[in-house]
């Protein structure tokens, strides 16, 4: 299990290597990439801020969920912070599993859950200003004790 929040550019190959295994028949990766537009506005730059220790703890919790729900799966989750350029990856997830449907399901579950419970925030800069994105997520509130 490879879990890391980092300022340096993400390396898809590192995530893939971390989940390769002789009994894994399917390996699925997801890369979230900074787009050049959002809601019709041209995005010029983007920044991510994390509550670092808690973000890694929540990413680890997601990884443990995945391994429990999809037996014999392996997972890596890398998230970047700081300023990113268009086309750079903000998040990379790799999942291997004995069969391909499991690898797809587990990888999609991981990114969907990450977007709901991992304390990381995105700030988008447009040509005429910048804004923090804040999604309404029921899951993070529900998961509170």
């Amino acid at each position: 299990m490879l879990i890391r929040v980092q300022e340096q550019p993400l390396d898809l190959a590192e995530a893939v290597r971390a989940v390769e295994h002789p009994s894994a028949g399917g390996l699925v990766t997801f890369s979230g990439v900074v787009r050049d537009h959002h809601d019709g506005k041209r995005v010029v730059a983007i920044g991510y801020e994390a509550y670092g220790t808690m973000a890694e703890a929540k990413m680890r919790q997601i990884a443990e969920d995945v391994i429990r729900r999809w037996p014999d799966s392996r997972i890596a989750i890398l998230h970047r912070t700081g300023k990113l350029e268009i086309g750079e990856a903000s998040v990379v997830i790799a999942v291997s599993a004995p069969h391909r449907a499991e690898a797809f399901d587990a990888c999609e579950y991981a990114i969907d859950t990450l977007k709901q419970i991992v304390p990381i925030w995105k700030k988008e800069a447009y040509e005429n200003g910048e804004v923090w994105l804040e999604y309404e997520h029921r899951l993070a509130q529900d998961s509170a004790r």
Partner: protein, 78 residues
């Protein structure tokens, strides 16, 4: 306590030391901070709260020395 993203910018700092009465809840602390930064008030319902890196309900009471984090809804990933 810790503040993140928009809250950090509003407060001009990511961490504050605060003395609060015994049995104060996470929400009590939010309200106290929001007195100083009125732009936070409209986000009272959607604020995420964590104690020692675990999400908690707003009614959760703080224990001596614990670290509370106030956070806008998350938007990481992609």
């Amino acid at each position: 306590m810790r503040l993140f993203a928009r809250y950090r910018e509003l407060a001009g700092t990511g961490s504050l030391e605060l003395d609060v009465p015994a049995k104060s809840t996470a929400l009590d602390v939010f309200d106290r901070v929001a007195e100083s930064y009125p732009d936070m008030r409209s986000m009272r319902q959607s604020t995420l709260m964590a104690i020692e890196s675990e999400f908690v309900k707003p009614q959760t009471e703080l224990t001596d020395g614990e670290e509370l984090a106030l956070m806008p809804p998350v938007s990481g990933g992609c």
